[in-house]
């Protein structure tokens, strides 16, 4: 693969399928794009040639199968999770990671001295970590009408990673998990037994059921009762449950310390 004179910027629609299509195209045409960016992130760039990639699900699927077959399922997982990080330059790291991957096969994940291999792995790890953490920290509230609602503001685009877990666990309930940062939500219907991602504006807030506040109060009472008062350890508490997630919790961490007599 040679670097051509006129350097290209690939622009995709921001979806995962879109990214796979763009990657497919680069490999197919043996091009090394100078950048791969989502439409929404793209700022006009006079120096480079712009290539708009039209998302094609068939190509995306084909390429995804190729990665699985010629590199590994693990690699495919890594790039999907790294994609969810929405981090800057993530697309190029993925591109170079795959470039090496197609040469050396599944061993690519051992090439830890390569910056881009580490970057992809680290991003993927961060995304998985947040998703795991939020499986515990998400708080559902009962809305009037019996559906359940949770608001979250995750660092990464983790809704799709969490959805299968909540589907298994709350399969007999109707629920919505709302990513307020990205203005989207996973919505699950018990009747259909299926979930899907929809757009949902930031301001959306359902009316709560009559008994919801009572249950929340019981949870708060439980939470402060189980803290051992004279063994306060805010460091560990924050290490596992960072402050940025406290806003949407029902309990109030640290509240037992306020009454501590020194």
């Amino acid at each position: 693969m040679k670097n051509t004179e006129n350097k290209k910027v690939y622009i995709y629609d921001g979806s995962y399928q879109g990214l796979l299509t763009a990657l497919y195209q680069a490999f197919k045409l043996r091009e090394v794009p100078i950048k791969i960016v989502a439409q929404a992130e793209f700022k006009d760039d006079l120096f480079y040639q712009q290539v708009e990639v039209k998302t094609e699900n068939e190509k995306a699927q084909f390429f995804s199968d190729q990665i699985k077959e010629h590199i590994s399922a693990q690699t495919l997982n890594n790039i999907f999770h790294a994609y969810l990080s929405e981090a800057e330059k993530m697309e190029l790291y993925i591109f170079r990671y795959l470039f090496t991957g197609f040469k050396v096969g599944k061993k690519v994940d051992e090439f830890l001295t390569k910056d881009y291999v580490r970057q992809v792995q680290d991003l993927a790890h961060k995304v998985r970590h947040e998703s795991h953490r939020l499986k515990g920290l998400i708080r559902l509230q009962e809305a009037a009408g019996g559906k359940y609602y949770a608001a979250v503001e995750p660092d990464y685009k983790t809704l799709v990673l969490m959805a299968p877990h909540f589907k298994n666990r709350f399969s007999t309930m109707d629920w919505i998990i709302h990513d307020k940062k990205r203005e989207e939500a996973v919505i699950y219907s018990a009747a259909e037994k299926e979930w899907l991602v929809i757009d949902l504006e930031k301001e959306f807030e359902p009316e709560l059921s009559n008994k919801e506040k009572d249950v929340q109060q019981l949870w708060q009472a439980f939470f402060s009762a189980v803290s051992i008062k004279n063994r306060s350890n805010p460091r560990t508490q924050r290490q596992f449950m960072p402050k940025k997630y406290w806003k949407h919790l029902i309990e109030s961490p640290g509240s037992s310390r306020k009454f501590k007599i020194k």
Partner: protein
């Protein structure tokens, strides 16, 4: 009494019980009912003292007819008392579970009225949960010593895990500090549950019986430091429990002085360090092929608090070291301080291709900090100190001291960080 008040009293009374683990999946959850059990336990919150909140851990009641000396709920203690109804507990569990506050319920109880009466209430609660509310989340239930085993067995068909707390490591201490709990009343249900689990596994295989009996296993708890038993007695007891009663876990709980009783020792604080050593030794029994009488022998009754039990064993068996990593068998590699099952397996695999040097081990990401004192690679010994018991002892103790100071300065150790270093203790 208001429900919230009850919840405050009965969760406060339960919080010192350490066996909060919700590990072990029972594979419940079929899509037509509420909930499932996850193999890897999920923490839903962290308390202000830094412990993981995973289960709704409560007592059914703290009215107790018994008067165990070490217990806050003993009959002669003057304290706030409350009792739930089975419906209240079931409702609370489901309400919390549906909001993703918890992984499940951990229900224990004092002995109110008599053991059968109490056990019936606990059974009723799990029946409501499983049958009325169609709840398939995790349930850990205490079996009440002295209750009719039929009640315990029925409850076991609905719970994921059951436990009977032995509390005191010997009959004489039990006689002294918990005179009303007869040893038979504790060991009999444990034995019954253990046998029930074993039969159930066979029946499920052979006859395709669907009912699962205590699928996530049984556990127990021992209080450390309230009575005079040595570490040697305690780990021998644990070994017996694992071998004969099919126990999944034994939990150790450093005695926290809660009552003034002339029969109880006065301690400067709960013996957390000792508790930690017991957990490490327990780990060695379950996963490293050690026997209790190798770790401690008559005359050497307690673990060294400065170095871990594995290092302690190695230094007492220095004639078996240094070990040549290129020829030693897997079982012996596992006994080298600092080498765990993963490292041992890596070594066995890698040495088929070539003779391993220290450099190779490092490249394989095997941490040699502690192992170095006990191994040779292709005949070479690479620790920078002479191969002498006292010298190595000092180094290891120093090492451990540094490691401990890395953990939070605010409080000694807490359950969550403790169980973390356990996973890593090699």
């Amino acid at each position: 009494m208001e429900l919230q008040k009850k919840l405050e009293i009965l969760s406060d009374a339960a919080k010192y019980d350490v066996s909060c683990s919700s590990s072990g999946s029972s594979g419940r959850g079929d899509g037509s009912s509420l909930g499932n059990t996850k193999a890897a336990g999920i923490c839903h919150s962290w308390t202000d003292d830094g412990r993981c909140v995973s289960l709704l851990k409560i007592l059914f009641t703290n009215y107790c007819i018994y008067d165990c000396h070490y217990c806050v709920n003993r009959a002669s203690n003057d304290r706030a008392r409350a009792s739930f109804t089975p419906e209240e507990v079931a409702k609370l569990t489901v309400d919390f579970y549906k909001r993703n506050y918890i992984e499940g319920l951990f229900l224990s109880s004092a002995v109110s009225r008599d053991p059968d009466w109490t056990m019936e209430r606990l059974l009723k609660t799990v029946q409501l949960l499983r049958n009325k509310y169609n709840y398939q989340g995790y349930i850990h239930l205490k079996a009440i010593p002295g209750a009719d085993f039929k009640l315990i067995y029925q409850a076991g068909l609905l719970a994921d895990r059951m436990s009977v707390n032995i509390e005191l490591p010997s009959e004489s201490s039990l006689e002294k500090l918990a005179p009303q709990k007869k040893k038979a009343g504790i060991l009999a249900p444990m034995k019954g549950i253990g046998a029930g689990i074993e039969n159930n596994i066979i029946e499920r295989k052979k006859y395709k019986v669907k009912d699962k009996f205590v699928p996530a296993g049984q556990s127990t708890q021992l209080i450390v430091g309230a009575s005079p038993e040595s570490d040697r007695q305690i780990i021998s007891l644990s070994e017996g429990l694992y071998d004969h009663f099919n126990l999944k876990r034994v939990y150790y709980s450093a005695y926290l002085p809660v009552n003034n009783s002339s029969l109880l020792p006065t301690l400067p604080g709960p013996p957390l360090k000792r508790e930690h050593r017991l957990y490490q030794a327990d780990w060695l029994l379950r996963f490293y092929g050690f026997k209790a009488d190798e770790l401690l022998t008559p005359g050497r009754e307690n673990f060294d608090l400065k170095i871990d039990p594995k290092a302690d064993w190695a230094l007492n068996n220095l004639d078996k070291f240094p070990l040549e990593v290129n020829t030693a068998d897997y079982e012996m590699l596992l006994r080298v301080p600092g080498i765990g099952p993963r490292s041992a397996a890596k070594i066995v695999k890698a040495r088929k291709e070539k003779t391993l040097t220290h450099y190779n081990l490092k490249k394989m990401r095997i941490v040699l900090k502690r192992a170095n004192f006990f191994i040779t690679c292709d005949g070479k010994y690479a620790a920078a100190v002479p191969f002498e018991s006292s010298v190595i002892y000092d180094r290891l103790a120093e090492n451990e001291c540094q490691q401990l100071s890395l953990f939070g300065s605010s409080s000694g150790s807490d359950e969550s960080s403790k169980s973390w270093d356990l996973e890593k203790a090699e």
